[in-house]
Symmetry: C2
Subunit: 515 residues, 2 copies
Amino acid sequence: MASTTVARKQTGRTWEEREDEVRVGGEFPFDAGIEEGLDPADWEEFRRLAHRMVDRMVDFQRDARKARAWQPVSEGAEEFFVGAAPRAGVGAERVYEEFERYVLPYPTGTFHPRFWGWVGGTGTGLGMMADLLAAGLNSTAGQFNDSAARVERQVLDWMKEALGFPQEASGILTSGGSVANLVGLAVGRDAIAGYDVTQEGLSAGGEQLRLYASEQVHSSVVKSAQLLGLGRAGVRLLPVDDHFRLRMDALAAAVAADRRRGVRPFAVVGNAGTVNTGAVDDLTALADFAAEQGLWFHIDGAFGALAALSPKLRPLVLGLERADSIAFDFHKWLYVNYEAGCVLVRDRAAHRRSFTAPADYLDVFPRGTAAQPDPTDSRGPQLSRGFKALKVWMTLRGYGLDTFGRMVDQNVAQARYLSRRIDETPDLERACPVMLNVVCFRFAPAGVTPARLDALNKEILMRLQERGIAVPSSTRLHGDFVIRVAITNQRSRREDFDTLVDAVVRIGNEILAET
Amino acid sequence: MASTTVARKQTGRTWEEREDEVRVGGEFPFDAGIEEGLDPADWEEFRRLAHRMVDRMVDFQRDARKARAWQPVSEGAEEFFVGAAPRAGVGAERVYEEFERYVLPYPTGTFHPRFWGWVGGTGTGLGMMADLLAAGLNSTAGQFNDSAARVERQVLDWMKEALGFPQEASGILTSGGSVANLVGLAVGRDAIAGYDVTQEGLSAGGEQLRLYASEQVHSSVVKSAQLLGLGRAGVRLLPVDDHFRLRMDALAAAVAADRRRGVRPFAVVGNAGTVNTGAVDDLTALADFAAEQGLWFHIDGAFGALAALSPKLRPLVLGLERADSIAFDFHKWLYVNYEAGCVLVRDRAAHRRSFTAPADYLDVFPRGTAAQPDPTDSRGPQLSRGFKALKVWMTLRGYGLDTFGRMVDQNVAQARYLSRRIDETPDLERACPVMLNVVCFRFAPAGVTPARLDALNKEILMRLQERGIAVPSSTRLHGDFVIRVAITNQRSRREDFDTLVDAVVRIGNEILAET
């Protein structure tokens, strides 16, 4: 047989010869005597270590405000994380001590009251403990007849209710907004293409499928298009108005022009809170347009969708409830510990169709471990999924949705407070309207040339972080580098924004004085 | 403007009017007085609760052997998980008590010494605690200049070393094997298509791209093809030999025939441990074939790749080190708590190309939080990623790779022990050769018609689970329903397989007696 010859070329032995070598004449040592395991020899010793860890992490949460917002990884730690794979184990106690020494001092910083970068959520102590419980149970979610499936289903039901989706809608917990966008757009592609994409593939269609979104849309939408085989050419990014909202006239013109040209429009993506400025597209107008044009209406509501929890802010995201699919995160504006996102899909059958693949080893059972409460778990790219639903469930149930409505309000109020502080500070310049929880601004004193401002503000930002004062991030608006403060932080207080404003001005002047 | 008219249709108010309503004359209440947060009012009370949780979960681990392997969710719990979203919170203590009552008693069962279903790993106490530490830090992984990025990089370096990949190779931690397969195949698609798929999309290519795998390949490979826009038609499933290994002659013939027909072959997927029987394809032959034909060589090594950790078993998976990409799980044969998988990709640049999408808010910084040790985190479908690398790192470093080599050996030895027990038991029939850790068999006493055997064995399996004795799963081999035991369990001991064999025969006879 050809394969045998080929294998011999590489190894000098056939696969069968190697197999024989492993079998040792069929007598793999199954009578080797004492078996071992990974459980601790002394559970009480392990218990003491576990309690030490809990004490340390409860202290860490409690003392968040006293900590630096960020600090660079030390040289010692850099060196520690280079080296060959450990053949022998160092044991639980030593590896925990290494964690304390080399990992714990250098977190991303999301836990801190003045972390406002990249729309990172804070986490809570309760969410931290929920992850311990989930990891201890070691349940997988959704696939089996167990409590994890019930917990996840209830989280989805609650979120449908909170966002105005019908209870018959489908959904799944994902790693975060990026995969939630991927799932929503995959279902949209397959539902609207006009032929069986999951069977035939996109090369069978011949025409380019295209989705439409504002140029402010999150990069994960473009990345999803790449992954889905639509390419970046399958995404049309459209201009925005002064408030960074998708221009409906540009959308209508682009779709009409594409149809004339033989490109097939299949979806429009609305932003409920853009990553750059927190802008919310006109979702009711988009819903109407999608309905008229027969397009899939997907909403990226990574954080902004949660504005629906606030009675005050809900009018801003009206139209959310009319989406075909909506993506959002629990680990942003619901402050759930990383990672947990979600996608809701109105059409249950369409959702299943895109993710169902035949498998012999997934039979249907009326009873037992595989008697799933949901007929199939084919709702996303994963098969096994960790029990992240538990921390979401415990967080939502422990605090209640009204609390999150108030916290969302509070973060928006803080954004407006910061906005006012910026407007009142002579050398600061606000770079966009503040509607939700994102504030972009820069230090722009008179006399500094526009060409210098980018480098100046970048340096300010790095010093803010390096000194552990605060962690905003940055973006570019109309080409300009601006400092971006995205407030999805349950530990922030008004005085933290005073600290930021003062530090930006102080560091800005310090840099100017250096040169 | 058209959009205004459209919006008015739905709501009677324009978007701008709604916006004004929210602004309340620009005076969103930022002076509302006292701010709140989600931290506990009394940290010491919270600490006591956290210690209670740890004690409970350490007991749970310690007493795993005394527990039922599985039990159906009670009616009370079913009812508990139905109901409206909680507006007011119940507090941390009560939600924990609800966990104890309604969640804890009904896990999937992976923690149990006799859980052998769906290749589910056991988890460890150390992994459980690592998830607490990761959730407390609330770091995201890979994207920032922090310890999480170093820990993940080192885990990847260690796995490259363990599986024989060069240190320059790329990789990323994923949710599990399914997404790892998706990533590997996406990179393969984009690298081999012959035109810029990420830019143009698949409709620009015109020809069908196709990958090849044995009919025993995991369903996630087919699902990946659907998601990637290749369709199920983009996957050619090929026949296997008596040992359920891909037939190289069938592969060569299929690729040649497709080329003649104008279909473009782009990848071949090798199995290192099939989900059904643990079969390992001839990976060196596949590596040669892929090289000759210019195909991407992806390996699905979900559990089987870890056989490389055992000096005894390594010859079986020879060829692993020649893959272009390899997918595997930490939460299977490395017993890491759910969820954690990995993909390694030999060509670093190709890996990045498939997942890079432009983003204004991801600028490059020489210093500070965004000064990433890796130039870009565009290595998978996620952007934010939880710090799952920590539990992998603590597990590998705590126990050492040699320990996992021995544990892998032990599970294989147990599979062979079970295989021998089956062969020695008159009414049991083994359904496939046992090479690694998967054993398929059925209860097939003389006198029972072939038509009855499927239903009989399905009933045996459900009773095994319902009575909490053991959790094997099932599959179909040559159309027959068989009980499948996949041993990736660090708590199993030889006597557990005696228990299984005895129970299958006893329950089988009990069912026969009933009818």
